[in-house]
Symmetry: C2
Subunit: 445 residues, 2 copies
């Protein structure tokens, strides 16, 4: 039995609730079932979900992309949806709720129990991109006065409803976070030991409005399974878990990568995005860059006399302006990623500038040597000198523009990832045209 | 007390082993102490490490970047280094060992106990980039015949030496992996229950030579804390943990990002890399791209007559060729990242081609409209038509090149990330020059 034979079964008969299919699905990971649902239509999806227990249905739903979730939610009777939603992890549930239209939200809420309703309202209220928006409220808490044995009994009871019980959080009567304790320490110490004796005080925590990228970086940096989230008064309101941290890191890397190619936020998979969504993600930057390149054109037009008297200069035009753009793109790429991973801070600009000048100078020199011979061959010694000198200056200036732009964007609270790729290339191109023909005019006329 | 005052203390007096510093360090996370060491010299670093217990020294060392580790290892007496290395996690230890020179390795090995020596030799033997190279051998195993109580006792005893005991792996007499069991299930069931009754059979596992990126993706996809690694005979040889998965994902994203800007593998932080290392990472591609752009130059030279009789064409040259390059870079960026995250497979090329043709056609049309007016103004109606028609074709062709290149590279087992950015831009540029002047020549002459 495989997913392929399941698909055949579903296509052939109407009621697929046979024992073989049920057994097969019971052995599969929820993530794989979710993948199968993504590749099929909503009516098939519901027939597959029917073969699972309610708790598993909720688990599978949690692994689906947002759009597929919404698609399924729309086609389900309200009571059925409410039953599954009740079983979902609180963070997945709040995300799904946020993705529904206002009417769908209003239809769903009354079908839920009071506790779930309040939990959804509370979690859905946090701003997107913050710790509050990705945290779950399914965490375990303990009080400092109970014993390890009592704590274990409590965790044992609560385990099925919690995302993780490997670390429990210790709170005072006002729910203020005062420490945390690992499950492994609870089973290690004598059963009569009080929690306040084993707990880790000053436990790491993040604020509810902290940026999700910064939270994910902390989980990665400190190798934590989860980090507690506290409000302005130090009260625990949720936890962010390691699997959400991986999702955030992957998502932010994808966004940065897209921005580096001047593609705007897509919000969904390239494979599933519609034509118009893809068009919209690309058109604004392309048109903007067209007008950016008009400066290069104007530069060329300005030097028309120089060009008309030395048409051989044109041969080297693409090569010279592309070299400035390429060197700039390299410099920008290095800085953008270093800033994104926290490797380099804005204060480091001075240090980086000195090194970039040296590296770019060496690169320009190498490329000038590489191009000199071709210059002599295509245009004679005079043109060769113009081309070589231009190359050094263009690579140097392009690189400095490329490394500086990410710092400037960060300073003005814009995303530096935009600066690598086409944007920096266009700017360096225009500057390259001016440098080349200015040097040529001065030398040859 | 802060790290700043600690630095002042270290700069002032010689013996800094005072109680305040010791206490301060005891409250700090190992990752933060490692950060402090990275920012100071080896002699200061050793004085700080002296204030920590041996186990903590090893933990801090594990958080350091490879180069800093090697720096410290070189400046330590052999016996001292051996003592710390013995306490390190087995994966960190093998990585450090691999980074040492052959002589340093030979000097270190005799100072270690037999068990550590064999463990290092075994782990160091796996190829870089595979599951074997990032796995740790500090995992907990159980046999199926013992009870939950016996299992808990065993885990309790072993906990300090294991990276995680939250999941233990169940093996048969030949060490073949037959299942796994969560700590939380062990404390949940009746103490007399046998492991074979609670264990999860068909537990997820990866092969020792599986690519590290694929292992990390599985940990992310299935939300696991760790995945067991098995050899060709199904015997467990290690585990890869979630924190290593995050490191791999971050590292691979950085590499892809660098390649998209035609920067070769740097192997270390941009902040700390030397001038020559940065030069070497950039020069090869820059020079290669120069020669790539010679095709554009040759294209222009070939159409010199057309240009000489219509110099106004030059104004639109940078704009038209950049548009093809930019549209190509966008298309490539979307495909490269979608392939890297497993969103799109090579088999999807056909489907993607159809959609890209539609999207690129729309984009080309939009840009042709945007540029038509400027064409009339700068060159008259005839040139405006040439420029607009060229724009549509150039954007379409550039986009198709950009989306196809990543698939071709993947097919030939090369890294598609190279295809976004400057490489695709250069190719699209050259094609753009030919299209523009071919249309201009046909229309105007």
């Amino acid at each position: 039995m495989t997913f392929d034979t399941l698909a055949q079964d579903l296509a052939m008969e109407n009621g697929v609730g046979n024992a073989t299919n049920r057994e097969f699905l019971a052995t599969q990971h929820a993530a794989d079932i979710a993948q199968f649902l993504t590749e099929h239509d909503a009516d098939i999806d519901w027939r597959v979900l029917d073969l699972l227990e309610l708790q598993r249905q909720a688990e599978v739903l949690g692994y689906l992309d947002r759009e597929v979730q919404v698609e399924l939610a729309k086609s389900a009777p309200r009571a059925r949806l409410a039953a599954i939603v009740t079983e979902m992890d609180s963070d997945d549930r709040a995300d799904l709720f946020n993705a529904l239209s206002e009417e769908e939200q209003e239809a769903l809420l009354p079908a839920l129990a009071q506790a779930e309703r309040e939990d959804i309202r509370r979690l859905a209220g946090y701003k997107e991109g913050t710790a509050g928006a990705i945290m779950t409220s399914d965490y375990a808490v303990l009080t400092p006065d109970i014993t390890a044995r009592q704590a274990l009994d409590k965790l044992r009871l609560e385990a099925p409803d919690k995302e993780t019980i490997y670390r429990a959080y210790v709170i005072d009567p006002e729910r203020k976070l005062i420490g945390s304790v690992r499950l492994q320490d609870l089973i290690l110490v004598a059963p009569a030991t009080r929690i306040e004796k084993v707990m880790e005080r000053n436990t790491l925590a993040v604020s509810v409005d902290e940026d999700q990228e910064s939270v994910a970086q902390k989980i990665a940096r400190y190798d934590r399974l989860a980090l507690p989230v506290v409000d302005a008064d130090g009260r625990i309101v949720g936890i962010v878990t390691h699997d959400d941290a991986i999702d955030v890191i992957t998502q932010e890397a994808t966004e940065d990568f897209h921005k580096s190619g001047t593609v705007r936020g897509l919000g969904e998979s390239v494979r599933d995005a519609g034509i118009f969504i893809l068009y919209r993600a690309r058109v604004a930057w392309l048109v903007l860059l067209v007008f950016g390149n008009i400066f290069s054109g104007a530069g060329i037009a300005y030097f028309e006399d120089t060009i008309a008297s030395h048409l051989a200069l044109l041969f080297f035009l693409p090569l010279l302006i592309a070299s400035g753009g390429n060197a700039g793109a390299q410099a920008a790429t290095l800085m953008v990623r270093a800033i994104a991973t926290g490797d380099v801070r804005t204060a480091d600009w001075g240090k980086m500038l000195g090194r970039e000048t040296l590296v770019a100078g060496l690169l320009g020199l190498t490329m000038a040597l590489a191009i000199y011979g071709i210059g002599v061959w295509r245009g004679g010694p005079e043109i060769a000198v113009v081309v070589s000198v231009s190359m050094i200056i263009i690579v140097l200036v392009g690189s400095l523009i490329g490394m500086t732009l990410p710092f400037i964007l960060t300073r003005f609270r814009m995303d530096p990832a935009t600066a690598s790729g086409p944007l920096v290339t266009s700017i360096a191109d225009a500057v390259g045209v001016l440098i080349y023909f200015a040097i040529a005019t001065a030398w040859l006329l």
